[in-house]
Amino acid sequence: MDQWNRRGNFGSSVGGDVNPDLRAERRTASFNVEKLTAILDGGADNTSTRRTVEAVIRGDPVFSRENQYFQSQNERYEAAVRKAVHLKEKMNQMGWTENGPEHQYCYRALAGDIAFNVHRVFKSSILALGTDEQITEWIPLADKHYIIGTYAQTELGHGTFLRGLETTATFDISTQEFILNTPKISAMKWWPGDLGRSATHAVVFAQLYIKGKCYGLHPFILQIRSLRDHSPAPGVTVGDIGPKMNFEHIDNGYLMLQNVTVPRENMLSRFSQVLPDGTYMKQGSDKINYLTMIMSRVGMLSSEVIPILLQACTIAIRYSVVRRQSKLNPRDPEAKILDYQTQQQKLLPLLATAYALHFMVAYMNKFYNKGYTEIKQGNFDSLPELHALTSGQKAFATDCCTAGVEVCLRACGGHGYSALSALPFLYTKVMASCIYEGENTVLFLQTARLLRNAAAKLQALVQSGTAEYEAWNKCTVQLLQAAKAHSHYIVVKNFIETVEELRNEAEIQKIVKHLCDLYALHGIFSNMGDFLHDGYTSGDQMDMVTASYLDLLAVIRNDAVPLVDAFDFSDESLNSALGSYDGHVYQRLYKWAQKFPANQQVSQAYENYLKPLFQSALSKL
């Protein structure tokens, strides 16, 4: 075993000692990896800030993810709380602000493995929906973490369809209070993060009732736990919703309210207000609400979803040049599995997708920032397009990333199923993104609503006398396909434009153009029926597409490792025995497995269960 250990420090990122197969891949790169990294980061300055942050995080043992795969739900939760508290101190110490670039890089370095992420949503909802007085009252408390907030919208019985939510807030003129209730079991708040064990306050969405009339959904600030001893407030039943596929570190919770009262001032009242006499008043445009939703979708894509695909590609591609299996030529040693065409077909289109989506989200950020400035100035013109774009892209990108990460997992053979590969963790994490912030099918249909040309058939049906709602449901499968195709088109278009912008970097432009071509051709190859069906493409053209597509695989193969190196994920953020920079896959798997607690202590299972039971079995046989 000693000869395996001499490579020493398994935790370090860039050691001089790299697996020779990986080293060979890097030596033949056709472009400068560092330059591409800077382009992906949006400038060399950003790269340098990011690396500084990563170094600080790496240097602090509290942030270590070393034992993450061996921890129970309770331990994961506790570690996440500890890290969140520690990060706050660290940021103070370093002079990093919550809205500065460093915070986002901290998140990346920690792979999101910290508590209180919903606390930010709590704050931004007060900032967006609260009056100036409410903002002055609550935000300083939240900033200082005197209170910890959550955002309680989703219920057991209703998710994306907001109008169906059943929690009620009834205004009592005599006491000037709202009385909040969970009238039935399906109305229980269910899923909000940080709610189960941590939060002291919540922004709760409820149907507002005044004098027996319902005014629809409104937000209320509610204290749910004592600030002194953390026990639930009177009338509040709160707890954790139990184990999920991932996010063990987050205490997603339930919340049941029985005649919980809050003062009139606790309704967030920027857009609508209840006067002391019970008069209901609307004010201003709440279109700005859409902006919050758009912002959180852009945010989740750039910080949660797309990086996961990039990480999965990094792991699977590095592993595929270290893993050798079977022979391509009887006289040669076993071949790297990335040299098999079938392996290339699995991974390289995903690598192209990773680049395509990365550039897409960069474009969305730009578009969003421009729109944000306009909207703040009262110009709402860009809002519908921004909304359609983000809905469609959220659904499209999360679908692609979820499917893609699973392909990466399975492309690593048996070892992909080991938790130590990190791929099960990445997959179960990214798959949740298809649901939260809007269920994908529903979002695609929102995009479709804005695609007039796709609805030709709908129009025909409506004209033939079918009621519109029925016609809509009859066409939803088709509309869904139209919306997907539209989103796909936008990604391809943006990729092509990005390639054009790289004209000053000839080498990089060349390889990125190959990726772009591969992305486009793979899209045609995998949706052949769509292209042939409308006669856009002939059978002969399709043969050409297939041939060029397969040729491109071989070309991109040569730069596959440098292309994932350019993503520049630290070993700590990957936390994968298969995907580390130095490629010592097998040594790490063995090392890490030894750390598994069951291997470090004498197992009681044999003494307690196996031995006595088998003996009693023996006596009966």
Partner: protein, 661 residues
């Protein structure tokens, strides 16, 4: 019972009980299955806490406790028929893996098939009585499906008449075998045999690894658990490293190949015989694809009829989500697929038993085709079912992501089957090898038989390559038999294209292997098309076996949906090869949507017919009575994080932070 579910059940057009009999293979078998399941499900010795709330170590302990109990009870009840053992076992373990799987499923059978009589005398009874618990250690860290690459060595030493076992490299460490980590005290180890200075290839050896009595690893043995995985929490998949570990000569399994005391190697007579076991396991996996997908469909479809959301018509109550076309389009093709795979699994099992009879009489002629078919169908059905389970989970929205839905568990338990017992891409390429070989035979004038006999027609089609129009009109959109023909054409075209591309590459390049690799994407496509054809064909053939008219009608609709949905998803293949016209493809799209409407009223009854007990499903969302919301709440209250009202991390981390700020 939930009102919506009752309404769904009342309005079914057929008797689910009759369909259950069809699926089980007769009313008597249904009765017997339920009887055996009840034995396990009602046994107080086999009850335990919800596994979702237990740690991995606790899950392992629970499983091992039940496994030991199960072995005892099987003998007590005298259950010995393989199907009946399976029913009992899956009721004890609710479809999850267990630490004795490899002992019962590989160690004992391998002793029976590959050990000499003397070896059976020595090992079988102790193993049967669980004094010896064994596993099957084949896969290594560095090698899986490519067996020839395994690196563990067994070197014969004639001086002591022993084999010396070694793990010469880190990659040669045995890695993954189930039951190896903590449970077993013996292993059948696959190693490269060296004798008289020569390597004789892979052979099997019985290796003691832990001390009987103390269960401590023997000197020279390093053994342990490989750590957490994606699921399989109950299973102690392990690693094993051997350092000059000696075993007597008599511990090599020598029914076929032998090493004599002086080191002389005696070759086995035929190497095809091992095909039999592989075919059996792969056929079993096809059935497992069906079962897992049936479970997932049951949960998603029941939940979709209980869940109400949004509005279809303004002013009306929220509809069941199963009334949305997009939801039907997600779930009904999967339901049809679940039925299709069930029938394919049953066919494979039957064929295996039939051919086993032939093999025992020395007739190996059908084995190569069945071997190729089982490889392809294993890959085809596991890929499809794997994606289908995920689709079901996502069709349940956020709640599908909670462990209470049962879907995460079904998924993680099933998904490794894409990799184990032969990695799927490699399996598809094995099938392709057989297809290309058959194509070459046809081209050289020989006829081929069995499932590939459609290749015999290829030469005839070539006489009039342009006159495809005649075939278009031949497709009857509501006739499964006609759709089988359409799939057959697609398969033959794609096999031909792949074979020709392979030939072209061969003409340009140096080696067979290189040409094969440059064609492998085409080859996998051809295999998939072949398997798809086989599934449509077998599903269609099943229809004539169903005598009850009402059941037949509803299963026929599923069969049509399966075939037409497949065409719509692979329209490119049919259009490009000129098998179908644009207009026909448009008709297919339309007909798929009509079938969704036709199947909708029977959807719940169709999953009820799978007849899963709630304990088998392990799902709050999929409960037979449909009372989901109250039971989700009851379930959540048991979460480990809820053990105390205030979590300890409040005192440890939150409070100190608030004090500091």
């Amino acid at each position: 019972m939930n009102r919506d579910l009752r309404k769904e059940r009342d309005s079914a057009s057929f008797s689910p009980e009759l369909l259950t009999h069809v699926l089980d293979g007769g009313a008597e078998r249904t009765r017997r299955r339920r009887e055996i399941e009840a034995l396990a499900l009602n046994d107080p010795d086999l009850q335990h806490e919800d596994l979702n709330f237990l740690s991995r170590s606790q899950r392992y302990e629970t499983a091992i406790r039940k496994s030991a109990m199960m072995v005892m009870k099987l003998r007590e009840y005298g259950i010995a028929d393989p199907d009946e053992i399976y029913w009992f076992k899956s009721s004890v373990h609710r479809g999850r893996p267990e630490p004795l799987d490899l002992h019962l499923g590989m160690f004992l059978p391998t002793l029976l098939t590959q050990a000499t009589l003397e070896q059976q005398n020595r090992f079988f009874m102790p193993a049967w009585n669980l004094e010896i618990i064994g596993t099957y250690a084949q896969t290594e860290m560095g090698h899986g499906t490519h067996l020839r690459g395994l690196e563990t060595t067994a070197t014969y030493d004639p001086a002591t008449q022993e084999f010396i076992l070694n793990s010469p490299t880190v990659t040669s460490t045995k890695w993954w075998p189930g039951g190896l980590g903590k449970t077993s005290n013996h292993a059948i180890v696959l190693a490269q045999l060296y004798t008289q200075g020569q390597c004789k290839g892979l052979h099997a050896f019985i290796v003691p690894i832990r001390q009987l009595g103390t269960h401590e690893p023997l000197p020279g043995i390093t053994v342990g658990d490989i750590g957490p995985k994606f699921g399989y929490d109950e299973m102690d998949n392990g690693f094993l490293k051997m350092d000059n570990f000696r075993i007597p000569r008599e511990n090599m399994l020598m029914k076929y190949a032998q090493v004599e005391p002086d080191g002389t190697y005696v070759k086995p007579l035929s190497d095809k015989l091992t095909y039999g076991t592989m075919v059996f396991i792969r056929s079993f996996i096809v059935g497992d694809s069906a079962r897992s997908l049936c479970k997932a469909c049951t949960i998603a479809i029941r939940y979709s009829s209980v869940r109400h959301q949004s509005e279809l018509k303004p002013g009306e109550p929220e509809p069941q989500i199963l009334d949305y076309q997009t939801q039907q389009y997600k779930l009904f093709p999967l339901l049809a697929t679940a039925y299709a795979f069930h029938f394919v699994g049953a066919y494979m099992k039957k064929t295996y038993h039939r051919i086993t009879g032939d093999i025992n009489q020395g007739d190996l002629s059908e084995l190569p085709e069945l071997h190729a078919l089982s490889a392809g169908l294993k890959a085809f059905t596991t890929w499809t079912a794997n994606a289908g389970i995920e689709e079901c989970r996502m069709a349940c929205g956020g709640h599908g992501y909670s462990c209470c839905s049962g879907l995460p568990d079904i998924y993680v338990t099933f998904t490794p089957s894409c990799t184990y017992e032969g990695e799927n891409t490699v399996m598809m390429l094995q099938t392709a090898r057989f297809l290309v070989k058959s194509y070459t035979q046809v081209n050289s004038g020989q006829l081929v038989s069995g499932m590939v006999s459609y290749l015999n027609d290829l030469s005839r089609q070539h006489i009039q390559p342009q006159q495809v129009a005649a075939r278009h009109t031949a497709m009857l959109i509501s006739d499964p038999a006609s759709l089988v023909e359409v799939y057959k054409l697609r398969a033959s075209r794609l096999v031909e294209a792949a074979a020709k591309n392979f030939q072209a590459e061969l003409n340009h390049r140096k080696s067979q292997e290189d040409a094969w690799n440059r064609t492998s994407v085409d080859l996998v496509r051809a295999s998939e098309a072949h398997c798809h054809y086989v599934v449509v064909k077998l599903f269609t053939a099943q229809l004539s076996e169903i005598s009850d008219a009402a059941v037949n009608a509803v299963v026929s609709n599923l069969c049509l949906l399966y075939a037409l949905y497949g065409i719509s998803k692979h329209a490119g293949d049919f259009l490009q090869a000129g098998i179908l016209t644009d207009t026909q493809v448009t008709q297919v799209y339309q007909r798929v949507k009509e079938l969704l409407v036709a199947i909708r009223p029977n959807a719940v009854a169709l999953v009820d017919a799978f007849d899963f007990h709630d304990n088998h499903l392990g799902s709050v969302l999929g409960r037979y009575d449909g009372n989901i919301y109250e039971n989700m709440f009851e379930w959540a209250k048991k979460s480990p994080l809820n053990k105390t009202e205030v979590h300890e991390s409040f005192h440890k981390h939150l409070k100190p932070m608030q004090a500091k700020l």
